[in-house]
């Protein structure tokens, strides 16, 4: 675990560029072309692009451009929130388990193992059923699923590092936990965490879109990528470009994240 992944490989740069483009579209697009993702005009139903709607209109005559921009804010926001929560929880529990050992370690590892055996979508579905509010439910459910990966990575890395002579020496010299974490643990964990975070974000976005697509995720009229696809699917022959809009956006988003993550040691 000493080799730091090359942060500037062309693939990673390409991934970051795609994500930056999508983020710009989501954040600044509606500023350049003002419009309402919910505003309807039935006469423009499935109409082609015009100045107010650069990507044309959906089946209710809502601007696809603005719906897409909002969808590209929503899923990544939930995903990043879940990844941040899961990452923090995984980091804290992982280092705790590695440092403490014994029962704490065993219980946490068993719990993580058991969660790993359950399909993530299933857990998200159950949490969605329990929690009020879909976005909140997604955040909670995805955090519950994603922390395991961060926990396992942190725990494995921390164990190796904490057993190293350098850390033992530091402890003997009386350096406190914050110091050891900052100088010894974090530099080892950080690069792995970035990869795991990118994969986690991709997983979360896929889950939100997949559940939206099978109509158990976000609810209409919220603009969400999977939901937009399933809404536009019946019109695929009349307006194929309308359906392609969320499809291409989802693909680009996931592609960007996959490239950013780089190759993972399996």
């Amino acid at each position: 675990m000493t080799a730091i992944p090359n942060n500037t490989s062309p693939a990673r740069l390409a991934g970051a560029a795609i994500l930056a483009l999508l983020a710009a579209l989501a954040l600044f697009g509606p500023l350049l072309v003002p419009g309402d993702p919910f505003g309807q005009s039935l006469v423009k139903s499935l109409g082609g692009p015009d100045a107010a709607a650069p990507l044309g209109y959906d089946h209710l005559g809502r601007s696809l451009f603005h719906r897409l921009a909002h969808a590209l804010r929503l899923s990544p926001a939930i995903a990043l929130g879940a990844v941040a929560t899961a990452g923090a929880a995984g980091l804290i529990l992982g280092t705790w388990a590695a440092a403490q050992g014994g029962w704490v370690d065993r219980i946490l590892a068993t719990l993580a193992d058991a969660l790993l055996a359950l399909p993530g979508l299933l857990l998200v579905l159950i949490v969605l059923a329990i929690m009020p509010g879909t976005a909140f439910g997604f955040w909670a459910g995805l955090s519950l699923v994603l922390w395991v990966e961060f926990f396992r990575l942190t725990r494995a890395t921390s164990r190796a590092v904490l057993a190293s002579p350098a850390v033992e020496a530091a402890q003997l010299l009386g350096f406190g936990w914050p110091y050891i974490f900052r100088t010894h643990l974090w530099p080892e964990i950080a690069p792995v965490m970035l990869t795991a975070a990118a994969f986690g974000t991709a997983t979360a976005i896929m889950a939100i879109a997949a559940l939206g697509f099978v109509s158990v995720g976000m609810r209409a009229p919220t603009p969400e990528l999977g939901l937009m696809m399933v809404e536009l699917l019946p019109y695929w022959r009349e307006a194929p470009s309308a359906l392609l809009t969320p499809v291409i956006a989802t693909f680009a988003l996931l592609m960007g994240l996959t490239l950013l993550a780089g190759s993972r040691e399996t």
Partner: protein
């Protein structure tokens, strides 16, 4: 033995998590569970207060939560999954019915992915940096970025020529589309895994030596290559089982496949908690079982890992 013991603990933990979380789901349902169940059972035209009251009386939904939880877990220990709230059929019976359909789909998908991925991966790995290797890298990165539901959507729309049914169940040709939708993503990853393993092995002294000692190319590959490629591939397949199951859940819902994933989504939607518990448990324990088998197989192939 430690493998078995660890897996046994994992299985017990899975059962507890599923049991408690589905019980919580039953109790914490937003809205009135009796109404939800009545809607699932009688359909939206016929769900009325009278129907909900009948359901409430039948299921004892007003009982206190703690004894109910104990009874719930007790039933679980006795492997009594109860009766589907919606159809009234025993959960076990329904799951046995649906598991078959899902297993066939999953097997078809894995089989298809193994036919596509590893052969390409081996060819690419034999000549790292070659044309095939580079094409494979681009294609597999692309395929990995396509969620399974999107793959299904793309396939459904692209087979509108009429030579493949878009959905349905019962004939072998109904397998092609959903299995392919699942298999392409799996193949993308297992091609990469095979390629990396193969490339590593061709670099190793023993492999080169085998070539020098006069074995022909095919012989070297069969004797030394495949066995070493199989280990990471198998381990990966075990881990990917969860992804496969998730894919099965989504794909079944899209193409109307009467499997366990379809049942799960419907059970969640109709708040048929015994069915949710039963399907979740079968999926989780299935994962543990498959990984146990894989652990044992890997140890047979690769004795080095033994402790």
């Amino acid at each position: 033995m430690t493998i078995l013991l660890n897996r046994l603990v994992q299985a017990a933990m899975v059962a507890i998590i599923v049991g408690v979380s589905t019980f919580a789901m039953m109790r914490a349902l937003p809205g009135d569970a009796a109404y939800r169940i009545a809607a699932g059972r009688y359909g939206y035209d016929n769900v009325t207060a009278a129907a909900a009251d009948a359901v409430r009386a039948e299921l004892g939904l007003d009982a206190h939560w703690f004894p109910a939880l104990l009874q719930w877990l007790g039933d679980l220990v006795r492997l009594d999954f109860g009766v589907s709230l919606v159809s009234g059929q025993p959960v076990m019976q329904e799951i046995v019915h649906q598991l078959g359909a899902s297993l066939w789909l999953a097997l078809a998908a894995v089989g298809l992915s193994l036919l596509m991925g590893p052969p390409l991966g081996i060819l690419a790995g034999l000549r790292p940096g070659g044309l095939l290797d580079r094409v494979l890298l681009v294609v597999s990165t692309g395929l990995k970025s396509i969620p399974q539901f999107l793959m299904a959507l793309i396939l459904i729309l692209s087979v509108q020529m009429g030579w493949l049914p878009a959905a349905g169940y019962g004939q072998s040709r109904h397998f092609i589309l959903p299995a392919l939708a699942l298999a392409l993503g799996l193949a993308a990853v297992n091609a990469r895994i095979t390629r990396d393993a193969m490339a590593r092995i061709t670099e190793m002294p023993f492999y080169r030596f085998a070539g020098w000692k006069g074995l022909r190319h095919g012989q070297v590959l069969r004797r030394h290559g495949l066995r070493n490629v199989a280990v990471p591939l198998l381990t990966y397949l075990g881990l990917q089982f969860v992804t496969l199951i998730e894919g099965v859940v989504v794909i079944e819902t899209i193409v109307g496949w009467p499997g366990i994933g379809h049942a799960l989504v419907h059970a969640v939607f109709a708040r048929d908690v015994p069915m949710v518990q039963g399907t979740a448990l079968v999926l989780g324990l299935g994962f543990v079982l498959i990984n146990t088998v894989i652990d044992l197989t890997v140890r047979r192939i690769d004795p080095r890992g033994r402790t």
